[in-house]
Subunit: 297 residues, 2 copies
Amino acid sequence: MDLKVYLKEKIALVDAALEQYLPKEEERPQSLHKAMRYSIFAGGKRVRPVLMLAACEAVGGQIDKAMPAACAMEMIHTYSLIHDDLPAMDDDDFRRGRPTNHKVFGEAIAILAGDGLLTEAFKLMSDPRFAAGIDPAARLGVIHEIATCAGTYGMVGGQVVDMESEGKPDMDLPTVQYIHAHKTGALIKASVVAGALLGGADDKQLAAIRRYGEAAGLAFQIADDILDIEGTTEEIGKDAGSDEARGKATYPAVMGLAAAKQEAQAMMDEAMLALEPLGAAAEPLRAIARYIVERKN
Amino acid sequence: MDLKVYLKEKIALVDAALEQYLPKEEERPQSLHKAMRYSIFAGGKRVRPVLMLAACEAVGGQIDKAMPAACAMEMIHTYSLIHDDLPAMDDDDFRRGRPTNHKVFGEAIAILAGDGLLTEAFKLMSDPRFAAGIDPAARLGVIHEIATCAGTYGMVGGQVVDMESEGKPDMDLPTVQYIHAHKTGALIKASVVAGALLGGADDKQLAAIRRYGEAAGLAFQIADDILDIEGTTEEIGKDAGSDEARGKATYPAVMGLAAAKQEAQAMMDEAMLALEPLGAAAEPLRAIARYIVERKN
């Protein structure tokens, strides 16, 4: 398969759906909706929604059933970036080469734009307009999976431990593993699990997808850590080497660059193995995992 | 009925359920869970959860069916207070006579505690452990109603317009109405609508409850505006007269104190009228509405 073509097609579908689902800029309060759209349409790679659609297809489902949840996932990812960038958190002025939300709209609106995106995500996943042909119990399962992985036992928890570990001299592997599994891995896993649930997966398929999600999620974050060291500022759209400068908890920091690369590869192998029972339908999920680990930005 | 006894009993049930549902302090990340619990157990009056339970009973439902959503509503209300108090927003040092969340735990944890509470709320409402005996479609309806009323077309939207109106000389009644209906009214309405849905309300009952919620929500906020003028700092647990000092958009500010009192009364009359079809089962809802408008703190 041609991943470039696949991604381009799926990203276009996701972007069109986001355009449709998000509050319009002309609707009140305009400043808020403008700020929400600014960060949603800031050149994100749509990794999570595309993974959700690919997982839905991998179990034989129709992607339109997963589209609202896929866009909800992108809203949750985007809210987390807006809040992470705030002065009280990572204090970042740029993201993907553009000024961060609070630099453009001010801190108060940035906080509320994040709150708004998070809330709209759950509104979208429970919207009765998109209920046709989906088991209500599966929709509730998706909401529960995503809320679990986005909350204090998932992404928010990971962000707290990440923040509290920053600059500490005694950083250890279990802490880095906790941070990566929670801060990034959880939403990756939730994306594919949600896609499988909405695609009508049976228990065996769901277990395979879950195992894939856990391994790919970790591979994704280790690759990100490596990119921060090896990429240029132009390639990654933020200051290269910023993790090290901040004393961030990363895989290369605790195990060295070579071992981190090995670990990323091992996780990718694990992800590939998990997909075996799904056969050819899982080809996009395989290609995405490879792309994630080999990407340059 | 004795409202004091009713409230005491219901608040105790809500507090016990919150204690059970919230992440434990000893669970990782401890700082986050401590911060979430600090604000949840900060002496809130539990108006929204009690309203949800009362609405559930008013349509003949069992309150245990509504308890997870009632606690979720309190988490959403609490997250909104934590974020509203932040330096970038209202910059409040005290709430209910205690230091605000960010004064105790720092801004970063306060932002994340709010994010965590909002996310946990949706996790709780979709938790399969509390699915027994409730139509999954009704659970989805509750999540959608609450997300709608908490998001950019509800509370978050109201907060933005409130913030942007602050100190403006040309404050008008439609703007104040928008702010009140969205910032406070929406969650009050969502509370009773959710209670009715989880109590198995029919269409007629649901319409009555919705109408009650809209009127009572507005009455609640006007009463709050009046209290800010007439209450003492001791009674209301924050600086009396702070709305006026900040040039906040309030009913007394745009129509005068006497007219605002009349409006609160008119809204209460409307709320009472709406409840007529529900008979004696709605007595707690009536008593709560009266209490809301006549309360001194």
